[in-house]
Symmetry: C2
Amino acid sequence: QPRIMAVVNQKGGVGKTTTAVNLATALAACGKKVLIIDLDPQGNASTGLGLEAAQRETGAYEVLIDGASLKDATQPTIVPNMWIVPTTPDLAGAEIELIDLDRREYRLKDALAADPLLYDFVLIDCPPSLSLLTLNAMVAADCVLVPLQCEFYALEGLSQLIKTVERVRQNLNPVLEIQGVVLTMYDKRSSLNEQVAADVRAYFGDKVYETAIPRNVRIAEAPSYGKPALLYDIRCAGSQAYIHLASELLRREQGQ
Amino acid sequence: QPRIMAVVNQKGGVGKTTTAVNLATALAACGKKVLIIDLDPQGNASTGLGLEAAQRETGAYEVLIDGASLKDATQPTIVPNMWIVPTTPDLAGAEIELIDLDRREYRLKDALAADPLLYDFVLIDCPPSLSLLTLNAMVAADCVLVPLQCEFYALEGLSQLIKTVERVRQNLNPVLEIQGVVLTMYDKRSSLNEQVAADVRAYFGDKVYETAIPRNVRIAEAPSYGKPALLYDIRCAGSQAYIHLASELLRREQGQ
Ligand SMILES: Nc1ncnc2c1ncn2[C@@H]1O[C@H](COP(=O)(O)OP(=O)(O)OP(=O)(O)O)[C@@H](O)[C@H]1O
Ligand SMILES: Nc1ncnc2c1ncn2[C@@H]1O[C@H](COP(=O)(O)OP(=O)(O)OP(=O)(O)O)[C@@H](O)[C@H]1O
Ligand SMILES: [Mg+2]
Ligand SMILES: [Mg+2]
């Protein structure tokens, strides 16, 4: 059975998509079979992996609302060992449509349970909110990975996030835990980043990954070429950090 | 009657809150009476203006769901000429609660219409989504101000935003228009920023403000002191840019 991780933070622009896409690529480069599910109506993960609009006919919306099978909604990516369930245009309306559906929080979990999954990891990229799409990810997942930008507003939302994880664990998914916190766009010279990072480590202890992802323009350039940073420029500091993050994650998983 | 502007972009972390807070402060510094409405459950605008949790008893949730009057939900801020309707803790659940309410998209518009408003400007800070909270802002507003980070993922979401504005104008609010686009966290030395900015100006023409807001660490530091950048460090490049933006906006409004 694969390890299913929801990449969650309701604070916007903290590097959820960038982490989902590049961590998945680094895990695939280590020989792991990885599925990435794009649950964000913006479809940034689908774009970051080079999917044209025409390639997004069956995806997350069809799985959640129409009951399409995961197999039908999955397609290979430009990265070997990596597959994707893309965002489809209707996903923007899914939040409202899910409200009246049966088992509305379990739709993704049920879809993942229906097919024998031949992956080692499933990463779910979430939108910047704690609404029904993100809840579906948290119910389907074994754990949550939290990308965190070391700035004040990003710190503020953490208590809401922890409360939501707690609520989901008590009512909907008893195994859910925060597997780790990844510091993103981290600039060692910035005293603000240092201060916030110290607060985060004091709060989360060793759940915070040693590997911090530096701010690196090559990471921001890669999506315009439809590639993860690791394919765009494997030697840049950003790609190297995601490679280190993947090996740290694998060590952590084996130690479990 | 005040000019009501919704600060909207479903892409996360592009500077919506920072623009709402600092532009409102700069307008207040010009002697305009400004109300800021925090419609984001994260409550970053409330924090950025120094409101403690205890000061947030009546706010956006009570207005939208309980029908509290705007007057009851409004309080002064540390900035002269500026008032706020803060986020209250229950706002996180408002998206789902609004679904079954009568006139669910008009709740904010009705609340603004009920009281004679003694402001020159009302700025509404929105969450990073195009859901019912943001729709309430777009229905209540005269126009939309779009903060935009000049990066590829942020560019991608623009067509969804334009379609939503179009749909709201046709079905819910016939006056709604995009008043302007503000380039945020702009680094003149970054070729990525330059390229994306060129695309944005080609698409939006003179709706794009001349004033671009530079990336400036003092802007990111200010919220941890509970102050807008203009009160934290008026001389920094970020504060100066928001002051220029306010005067450019006033010129544009007078020219209307
Ligand atoms: N380490 C980094 N260095 C430089 N730029 C980065 C880095 N990580 C992410 N970015 C850029 O910052 C922006 C925000 O990142 P991203 O879109 O991944 O965040 P997100 O949390 O998924 O946003 P949203 O909340 O909208 O889903 C993007 O333009 C991305 O390219
Ligand atoms: N010009 C700037 N220079 C440096 N940092 C900035 C600038 N503008 C915003 N920031 C910082 O970038 C982060 C994102 O900005 P902000 O929270 O205002 O965006 P947002 O669009 O409101 O995010 P969300 O989508 O979560 O509501 C914050 O930590 C903020 O302090
Ligand atoms: Mg994203
Ligand atoms: Mg905000």
